[in-house]
Symmetry: C2
Subunit: 420 residues, 2 copies
């Protein structure tokens, strides 16, 4: 575990054979007793950070230290217990871990974030899950979701496609930052997958009292155990309350709060399902995939871009973006507008065969380009209005660009319950 200490501070610690997590007494102007904490990277570089017995942290300057005595060594982690024997009366669920907060653990004695839990430990840390399902863990990635790339999407889709057989459902533990982008990708790449796929994560790490990890994971398990139909979903806290898990269509949700537990919202509607007091409630009309064949199409092409338009937007950026691009998704204003200043570049992109689709930067509501002159002008230029949230439109364009399909036809046809 990186301690954050270097230079003279690290030398001081090394000289006394002390390290992060050790309980020590430091003799300086006075005697400090406490646990050595990892040094926060941006903090002062001439102090040892000590968590005192009263819970407060202090920085002890190394300048005045006369001695460090080890009172107790950092305890090692307890050995993992094996998961319980599978029960024939319970459904089998595959729990794929990819990283994110749900797979992090903060050691509150030291304050350090320990290396990512894998799916086995995730299951273990919430033994109540084994009363609902037999959970087989699979560790696939260990990335915070801001680092998830389209190539990771391929890995996830590939693993689910290969491993899905025999499972009542698959849970993907994923960081929340870009969970909705991944969910949208899996929705298109694994369209109609014969096993329901539920992404879940947490906004607070699993060992914090306020953690949402257990409820979110339990909600995902519960939805599958109660036979949620095929589809790709996001299962997360509905509000700040621990009572309900919202189950969103993977193509219709956004992370709408940076830190709150009820961060995900279905745009222009209610969540497709809810787990309330452990009971799965259906809110969506009909079963989108009912009778549809499973048609995996696992490929991606990065040559799509998303542009949030604003007053003073430099149209030269669009001209540059056109180079080597297959599709540009505009996040326009209002009902789907951009200013006249951008028309020339848009016309030129469309003439070069680049697909230009319109979404709205207003969070709610729909694109309607026939109402105002600007919308009609853009339709005349060949811009295609899209009935999708911008994030889903981008991901769909990256997917469509990799298939041998007409881009415009693909973007205006509903393929994975994405139309809002």
């Amino acid at each position: 575990m990186p301690s954050g200490y270097d230079g003279r501070v690290l030398q001081t610690l090394d000289r006394h054979q002390a390290g992060v997590g050790d309980r020590v007494a430091i003799d300086s102007d006075i005697r400090y007793t406490g646990t050595i904490m990892p040094r926060y990277h941006h903090s002062d570089d001439s102090h040892i950070v000590l968590k005192l017995d009263n819970g407060y942290n202090v920085g002890v300057s190394i300048r005045n230290i006369t001695g460090i005595s080890i009172l107790e060594r950092r305890p090692s982690a307890p050995p993992s217990a094996p998961p319980p024997e599978p029960r024939s009366d319970l459904p089998d669920i595959l729990l794929v871990s990819t990283g994110g907060t749900i797979a992090s653990r903060v050691d509150y004695r030291t304050g350090a974030v320990t290396p990512a839990l894998d799916a086995a430990q995730l299951g273990e840390s919430m033994p109540e899950l084994y009363d609902m399902a037999n959970i087989r863990p699979l560790r696939l990635l260990s990335e915070y979701s801001e680092n998830i790339t389209p190539e990771h999407w391929l890995e996830m889709a590939g693993a689910i496609h290969r491993e899905r057989s025999g499972y009542a459902g698959i849970i993907l533990a994923h960081g929340t930052d870009t969970m909705h982008y991944t969910a949208a990708y899996l929705s298109f790449a694994l369209a109609g997958c014969d096993t329901p796929i539920v992404l879940t994560g947490s906004q607070r790490s699993s060992d914090r009292a306020s953690s949402d990890a257990a409820l979110n994971l339990a909600g995902a398990v519960s939805a599958i155990a109660q036979g949620i139909p095929r589809g790709v979903y996001i299962a997360m806290h509905h509000t700040q309350s621990d009572d309900d898990t919202a189950i969103h269509h993977g193509t219709r949700a956004r992370k709408s709060h940076a830190s709150a537990r009820g961060a995900f919202r279905t745009i222009n509607g209610e969540p497709a399902y809810m787990v309330r007091g452990g009971v799965l409630e259906r809110h969506t009309h009909g079963d989108y995939w009912d009778g549809a064949p499973y048609s995996p199409a696992i490929s991606v092409d990065r040559r799509a871009a998303l542009v949030k338009y604003h007053p003073g937007y430099d149209a030269a950026l669009l001209d540059h973006m056109a180079e080597g691009r297959r599709a540009v998704i505009l996040e326009g204003t209002g009902l789907g507008h951009v200013g006249r200043e951008a028309y020339h570049s848009i016309r030129s992109m469309i003439r070069r065969g680049i697909f230009v689709g319109m979404t709205t930067q207003c969070i709610e509501g729909r694109v309607r380009m026939t109402v105002y002159e600007s919308g009609r002008d853009l339709l005349d230029l060949g811009v295609t209005p899209l009935r999708m949230i911008p994030e889903t439109a981008l991901v769909k364009a990256m997917w469509a660009a990799s298939r041998d399909m007409d881009m415009r036809d693909t973007m205006v046809s509903e393929m994975a319950s994405e139309m809002v």
Copy 2:
């Protein structure tokens, strides 16, 4: 007024000396009686669109027309009435019109959108406003707000600065698409202006039954008449209901619905004021501008850009964006993250002296870059966390880049009640 007709259809109409708005009888396979509507640009080009007396529109093919008789000519608009005499017991308000839906009128007989109303007609079409204030109209621009540019911001700020003297307040009638960008600009450029400035607009044009124009304008007038303190505000419907007008700080609101009347929301908080049943209620703490001097600083520099980050974002676009840019505002994921793939380009921008600020694409919540490794990495690269919504951060950067001020100091110091 453009009729939308051209080619053979226009010839047919001209031959019979008929035009949009005329009530006619068209003899074809049967006889159609109704009013000629403007042809919608994207519709079929061989039909005349007729609004029948039962209210439905039909397209009559010109192929079979044997005659068109004019039953009644399109009526001309009634002459404008002069505004009432100013009353000494009422406050004086300057109503500046810039265009937008609030200044449009749909002629329901013909379906056409008539040329923009100017501020005088706006006042006239809502005579009840003259019971609350003496309203002096000033027509400044006639643009839908998707076409508003930073140069228009200068015009608006200049007009307000020049004309403000003697008024209890200034109302700016503005399209809603980019109203929040303009409001943010005026907040910085006219910081502490000695006259309150209230932007208002409408989501439905003023002559529609469901129009919000009258309530929004009345809310703005009412807030000024009741002595709202100095500041730049957005006054719009609070919800779909006609009961309340929300008065948002101009630096903290977003258009959050493409079409609903209650489209504007204060992010991370409640509106600063409300007008409920005609009474101004204060919700904000303290008076932001209390005692502050008026410091107009009307200039702008377009060399700032806003980037919404997403998985698979092409870092080469950042490299290109760096050319000639003074500031780049990132709309990151979660607490303020972008993927590792973008680090190299960000480092290189910062080394070149470009200011790189971080906001979040989650609608609510705040940037906190010390929680996760990614945030700390980005702090190390020199990215500055911002306590503003992305739109305000962009506008502030465009303004700050035009001033002789340290960009980073300016961006992290509160200057116009913008911190959320």
